[in-house]
Amino acid sequence: MQPERSTHSISIARLISSSVVLVALSLHFFVILLYAMPINPVSVRVRSPVSRYIEPIFYQNWQLFAPNPVNSERGILLRVRLRRDHESVETTNFIDITSPKIADLHATRFFPNLRYRIATSMFATIHQRDPILLRLQELDGNLAECSPHVENIDPTGQISGHECDVGSEAMFTPPIRELIRSFAHAELRHMAPEVLDAYSGQQGAPVVVEAQLRMVYSEPVPFSRRNEKSHTRHPTIVDSPWIQIPPP
């Protein structure tokens, strides 16, 4: 009788703790689903408490190359203003930052160096938009595809001649300026000799005082035009304002 009893007996403590764990686990993953699933009326309504629970430990985003995979070729160029003595300021030519890193990436397939990611994700970071806002703009017929249409930003930081203003006014926020500054600053250390050599005169080495990023997008060749040899891609250029670089 004893062994029969032991297989049938249910420990109340174990039953209760198992149930608590089961409920907690179900709730946890239900909230994760609400957080990570495509935007819908329910997830929009509970967004704030859900985010408070999920972020930062359980943060997740599974829109991997979806719904629309990244398709534009993106490159970053950098130029600087050099001051010699105290009066003359020279502006260098633009230097390609992205291409050498992509060449390295193509040469190493096994755990490639991550340096290329900074250059390419600068775009995503600068053009980051709230997903709900994007969806609403889309529903309004006010397509958020505008950001690549920002044509040129003049050196004073004023925006001129853009085709639509969604997000572009707010594009170069203080954190974005700081991101550009630290990126330019770190890049300069890698290419300082080639920049400075070209401009170093007899009066001694010039000092970098400001930097400007040029972001170039090249829209993809559409699938329907893939066999047209004559198809030309029109790159879109966005220049950042000049950002001050503190002396080393």
Partner: protein, 329 residues
Amino acid sequence: MDPNPTTVNAQSLASKSLADILQKVWGRRYCMYGVSLLRISYGMSWLMIAFTNYRDRHYLWGPDGSYSYELFRQTAHLLNFSLYQLSSDHLYFEFVYHAGIIVTLLFIFGTFGRFGAFLQLLFVASLNYRNPIILDGGDNIAFLVLFWLTLADSSAVAARLKRPSSTHMAAGRSTATLLHNVAVAAIIIQLAILYLLSGLYKAQGGPWYEGTAMYYIFQVPEFSWPPLTDLLRGSLVFGLLASYVTIFFQISMPALLLSRIGRFCFLIFALLFHGSIALLMGLTSFAAFMLATELVLIKDSEYASCRALLLRARDALVRRGTDVLSTTQ
């Protein structure tokens, strides 16, 4: 009073199956090999990341790096605790970076068990939050799974300093067993959510259901490998197959896990899928983390039969070797 035997029977049957379930959850640790191999593979991937970027550690994570300490401090959320935020000193940065490498080595060996996993969690979080703009989906899933690894028993393949004494084990054994099984379940559910949602997001997107997604992705230098990807880009059949096979396996992954054959089909797909991503798109660490997570989908009994098969093959080889030796002598 007429006793109703069927009700009594049903009741005892229900309580018996409940007892069985409790016995399963509290009495046996599942997926011991999968969890251990997952831990080792994760650790190796983090070690590879630390080493392949060693020369550029200042550029990527350093105080004067491309994501400056100032920017990091401005954007850091109070909850995003990172060891790197405690000081902007270069020596301190070097100390934390190298301590992270040692912690990862100990994590690979499983020396400190769950505490080792917790330390690893602390150092991975520190590095991830230090520069969030270079992360990818692999870093994301690895961090989520690492959280659960702090509850799991990954001692099946490990070099512990000392085995816990048997009396010590008996005391905390059943609660630890429950936590281990919860961690295994959580890792599998998290992985299923990843596949289901990324499949659903792809099914929303025109290029995926039109079969042109790979054509567009392979135009981006960052995610291509000329000339091989240029060749594949031109293939209509490759594009269509890649899109549809991916969407199908990703969305149906949770259902495929329900049967043994489905699970094996999925594992074969995952191996080909992530292998191609690593080679063609240059996302090695992403592929490594994904395939490592897939290891928990293989049962202990399956690892055991794999091992037996390998041992038998080795024995057969050894026997043939000695036969050859004896005939030549």
